[in-house]
């Protein structure tokens, strides 16, 4: 059991080290393989973050160009997926700042000031959501949530990232990640209920 876990860890370390080495060399084959491997995950993250497919596709390309340019900064000690999402996050922030200054980071102060407490709200028929498989409907519900909350939901539920990893990725304290997750979940509830 321990041996298997160790073996998995070693395989992952070797894989990350190989990626780091390939990025340092700017090896086109390594980059092609990475683009193939992470295409859906990266695009999904960007679509959720920006709320627009066309913008997400532009940022998708921009992210890989930045991966190429900054590849030497990846040391292979952390997960490549986390590093990639950090690059994508920064690319998206730059884009959103240029497009509308009152976007991602503007809400930081107000949301950090809010206490992390449960809302006294009656239980909703949220179970209906589990039966709702219409992608467009879910997307519409997600679009109603502020990008900073949506981003945490995507990283947590789709990328299965640890809270600490998310905090590092979006460069905020752990408590803020928890608050955003809580608020994202709470904000998603009425939006989905309205469509239910």
């Amino acid at each position: 059991m321990v041996a298997a876990a160790f073996s998995t860890l070693m395989t992952m370390e070797t894989e990350e080290a190989q990626i780091a080495s390939g990025l340092r060399r700017r090896d086109p084959e390594v980059l092609d393989a990475l683009i193939e491997q992470y295409q859906h995950r990266l695009l999904r993250y960007l679509v959720h973050l920006t709320g627009e497919r066309a913008t997400a596709e532009d940022l998708f390309q921009e992210t890989w160009i930045r991966v190429l340019e900054k590849g030497h900064q990846y040391d292979g000690k952390s997960r490549f997926a986390t590093w990639l999402m950090t690059i994508a996050h920064n690319v998206a922030i730059d884009h959103l700042r240029k497009r509308r200054p009152a976007s991602l980071d503007e809400m930081r102060d107000t949301e950090d000031a809010a206490p992390f407490e449960p809302v006294a709200e009656s239980p909703s028929p949220f179970d209906n959501v589990s039966a709702m498989e219409d992608g467009a409907r879910i997307q519409a519900a997600l679009e109603q949530i502020a990008p900073i909350f949506r981003e945490v939901l995507v990283l947590r539920f789709q990328e299965q990232m640890k809270l600490e990893e998310i905090a590092k990725l979006i460069n905020v304290p752990l408590a803020t990640v928890k608050t955003r997750l809580y608020r994202g979940v709470t904000a998603l509830r009425p939006a989905l209920r309205g469509h239910g």
Binding site: L31, P123, I138, L163, V185
Partner: protein
């Protein structure tokens, strides 16, 4: 029920799926959820959000992947050429410095001979010697500035440097 207990329950609920929680925490959480309506409601919301998020898929098109790969290749080539040019400038600079250093003694003697032969004052000869001494480096610098980068494309020097860089990688 105090806010600390709610906070702990929220924390455990958010960590349960990905990070995992201890057996004692699982038992405590079950007891708490059985008695706390707010936290039980949050648990439902959390699992609902998770299901909703997981059921939503976004697929990248083949054309997007291909165009991205093409853009990345083009940029990689551009960066390799920039790097080759930087190395070329560095090598040229070093050659200029070496040439200037090796010929310093010769130019100094030549200046002295010219000054002696023509009876020129040192105020004219010394700047002249200095100019000739720095001439190789100055010529290289001027050429590097004046000649556009495109002039190096496909040149023997550039191809040599690019091959060298590839070899180093």
């Amino acid at each position: 029920m105090n806010s600390n207990e709610h906070g702990r329950a929220m924390d455990l609920l958010t960590r349960r799926e990905v990070e995992g929680i201890a057996e004692t925490d699982v038992r405590w959480l079950e007891t708490h959820l059985a008695t706390c309506e707010d936290c039980a409601s949050f648990e439902l919301a959390l699992s609902g959000a998770e299901k909703a998020m997981r059921s939503f898929t976004v697929m990248a098109s083949a054309s997007l992947v291909e165009s991205t790969q093409a853009r990345v290749h083009a940029r990689a080539q551009q960066l390799a050429e920039q790097q080759a040019r930087t190395v070329l400038i560095g090598v040229s600079f070093c050659l200029g410095v070496i040439t200037s250093t090796l010929t310093a003694w010769m130019w100094w003697k030549f200046g002295g001979w010219v000054a002696q032969s023509l009876g020129l004052p040192s105020g004219i000869v010394e700047p002249g010697v200095l100019l000739f001494w720095l001439l190789p480096a100055v010529v290289i610098a001027v050429l590097m500035v004046v000649i556009p980068p495109t002039a190096f494309e496909g040149s023997l020097a550039q191809r040599y440097m690019r091959d060298r860089l590839r070899g180093m990688q």
